[in-house]
Amino acid sequence: MKVMEDETTIKNYFKLINDEKLCAAQCTSCNELILPPRLFCPNCNSKTTSWKNLSGKGTLRSFTVIHIAGTSYADDVPYIVAIVKLDEGPSICARLLDIDPLKPEEIHVGAAVTADFEEIRSPTSDETMKRLIFRPA
């Protein structure tokens, strides 16, 4: 089955991330912003969704500092993972950089953060790819 370039698939979402664009799926029936993206609107079940560019500005809903990671990220510890509420409404889970992970007491729920992108090695090939991260605003 051929997927349209603008269809709000997960694959297309990550293509946009690779182009340093943070987008949410937007329901064209009820305007709901959907992130992580879905093919069907969780609000009205409509399939007609399109992409909407997000500002990347948001606030910290919560976070943790991972000290013991799974096999894939064992070399990265300690690192911060945050749940960020974007100003447009939806939330997304991503790493939070430029903050000392050993001083978590200095991080506050509600703090302003901004989206950015960093280059990482693809887990499935030798190529590099971009991933979404956040930094303090």
């Binding site: 997960i10 992130l35 992580p36 969780p42 809903r61 919560s62 976070f63 943790t64 500092v65 991972i66 000290h67 013991i68 990671a69 799974g70 096999t71 894939s72 990220y73 064992a74 990265d76 300690p78 690192y79 993972v81 749940i83 939806p90 939330s91 997304i92 889970c93 991503a94 790493r95 978590p104 506050h108 729920v109 509600g110 887990p123 991933r131 979404l132």
Partner: protein, 386 residues
């Protein structure tokens, strides 16, 4: 109201089992349950078996017929139920529905997991698969990390403290001292709990349930036939389940589990009971914060008051509402697929007044709250003494 009762229960010790295979752990628990019901394996008409991930832990799929065969139950319908850490509560629910539908009369609900075959980083990676792989695990969140996120949100909103989290661990370890099947039969001090190695801030090692092996099985049948098999059966009067979004990002509240609140509401309605009628509960304390949130979601304490309740001792064996007399997942151990049925077994023993030094004073009812993954599944059962 459900008309199903428990007539047999069997459980292996939880802990590290280097000398028994997955199928052997299952066979030990299954045989004990069958014998207690005065039956032989050939009398079991169907089996529902909870298991999270024998494929990852033991490189074994299609485990239900393998387990059934090694427990002497070749030929019957044997089905694996998977709902992450709530796998065996959903197995029990399937067994109850099989009886209620009239298809079967004598059914086994069980659970088994052998986690220690994998080194710890592999276990952590496997457990993280019970979160959203693409949008949670790939950015690097671990299973303890998910519950740490809930803890940070709970602390920020309600002022819950690390000391209150640690008190959950201290209480559950104290209860497990009197549980011979517990992974850790050892009391710990508040100081030890507070200074343990960091896993996912603010959760330290003693905020986490251990990596365990074990199996648990119960035999259930129609309540009106239960006395044929057992002098003192235990009635199951509610079986409820609900789901929620997998990804925390899609939830409006990070301080409570919607699936737990929803399943609890349904369970109380089925049983025609209110939270105040429940004298004790086995709740899903995979992490200390999870017990505090559970006591709020189940209506035992108001939202935000669970931390204070454990600090004041209200959830101890002789407290206002006893929480996790078995030692909970924290100290009894958490072989994930076996946990839901093991909680039911604690209800069975408590409601038969045979729990020894951890016995709650003559309870009429008990509640079991089994959470799958990050709260995307919750299954709740309420039992009543005969």
């Amino acid at each position: 109201m459900i008309n199903v009762s428990i007539v047999g229960a069997g459980q292996t010790k939880f802990g590290r089992h280097d000398d028994y295979d997955l199928r052997e752990l299952f066979a030990l628990a299954a045989h004990e349950a069958i014998e207690e019901a005065g039956l032989t394996p050939k009398d079991i008409e169907a089996a529902f078996i909870g298991n999270l991930s024998a494929d990852q832990f033991n490189r074994q799929t299609h485990i239900a017929p393998l387990m059934a065969d090694f427990a002497g139950m070749k030929g019957i319908p044997a089905t694996k139920c998977e709902a992450a850490c709530a796998s065996s509560a959903t197995a029990l629910r399937a067994a109850i529905l099989a009886i209620e539908s009239g298809q079967h009369e004598v059914v086994m609900a069980a659970g088994v997991e052998k986690m220690t075959d994998l080194p710890t980083p592999g276990v952590i990676e496997t457990l993280a698969m019970a979160a959203d792989q693409i949008f949670e695990a790939n950015p690097g969140i671990t299973f303890p990390g998910i519950f740490a996120v809930l803890a940070v949100a709970h602390m920020a909103k309600y002022g819950t403290t690390k000391e209150q989290l640690a008190k959950v661990a201290v209480k559950n370890h104290a209860n497990a001292v009197h549980n011979p099947l517990a992974h850790y039969q050892k009391a710990i001090t508040l100081e030890k709990a507070l200074t343990s190695r960091m896993v996912a801030w603010p959760l330290g090692l003693f905020d986490c349930s251990p990596i365990s092996d074990g199996a648990a099985a119960v035999i259930v049948t129609k309540t009106k036939k239960a006395r044929k098999f057992n002098d003192t059966p235990v009635k199951i009067i509610a079986s409820a389940q609900a789901n929620d979004t997998m990804n925390l990002c899609d939830r409006t509240d990070l301080t409570s589990l919607y699936a737990a609140r929803t399943a609890a509401k349904r369970a109380y309605q089925q049983a025609k009971l209110a939270p105040v009628d429940i004298p004790f509960a086995e709740v899903h304390d995979c992490f200390t914060i999870a017990e505090i949130i559970a006591t709020e979601d189940l209506g035992f304490f108001k939202p935000g008051k669970g931390g204070q309740a454990v600090e004041e001792g209200l959830t101890e064996i002789d407290g206002q509402i006893t929480i996790n007399p078995s030692g909970g997942l924290k100290a009894k151990g958490h072989p994930v697929g076996a946990t839901g049925v093991a909680q039911i077994i604690e209800l069975y023993h408590q409601l038969r007044n045979e729990a020894g030094k951890r016995q709650v004073s003559s309870p009429n009812y008990g509640l079991a709250h089994n959470v799958g993954g990050t709260g995307a599944t919750c299954a709740i059962h309420i039992c009543e003494r005969w």
